[in-house]
Symmetry: C2
Subunit: 110 residues, 2 copies
């Protein structure tokens, strides 16, 4: 049972572990969006973007809805952006930390 959650969580993190997919989610930050807008935004081939959208869908991160010829995507739970932002925060802090370390090393070198 706990094992199940672990696997769902794993596949959710896996869904975020690709630059193109993070870019897709960046586009979805402002709300539902048509695939026809997502493709030029993230760049690359249509079928490739579609595969990545499918992966995000299967991981439960996004949902799609057909509107005429178009398909619109949106995130299933906007808290996914908090996950992404928290991670960005961790990274920025880490970079700042190593920047401080570098500076102090430079000072002692003088």
């Amino acid at each position: 049972m706990k094992q199940e959650i672990l696997h769902i969580q794993t596949s959710a993190f896996n869904a975020l572990a690709h630059p193109l997919r993070l870019k897709i989610l960046e586009k979805l930050r402002s709300g539902p969006c048509c695939v026809c807008k997502i493709i030029p935004y993230v760049g690359g081939e249509q079928s490739n973007v579609s595969h990545h959208l499918a992966l995000l869908r299967k991981a439960g991160i996004v949902q799609s809805e057909k509107r005429g010829l178009e398909v619109w995507y949106q995130v299933t739970d906007t808290r996914i952006f908090k996950v992404i932002d928290q991670m960005a925060g961790c990274i920025v802090q880490r970079l700042k930390k190593s920047q401080r370390l570098l500076r102090s090393l430079q000072e002692t070198a003088v």
Copy 2:
């Protein structure tokens, strides 16, 4: 530059995208921990666990420190647990939502 951050973030999420690595982090929740405790906790072979620890290290999620013969690991930034917990929250909510949907379908079936 923005591209760089995206790649660091990608590799950070990738580091969380494996059940064994999530288990390692679970063990590190209570603070620094010796590899000799991590291995029996997560199960599996020593060299495999060591490879996963190396990946977490390279992604900047954890840091290691030698103490005599032992090596102790700890998370670089405890906010990583917020990232994991937020994601768990998303998943639980999603499961609850589909449970409600299932129940309402069962009711209309009666």
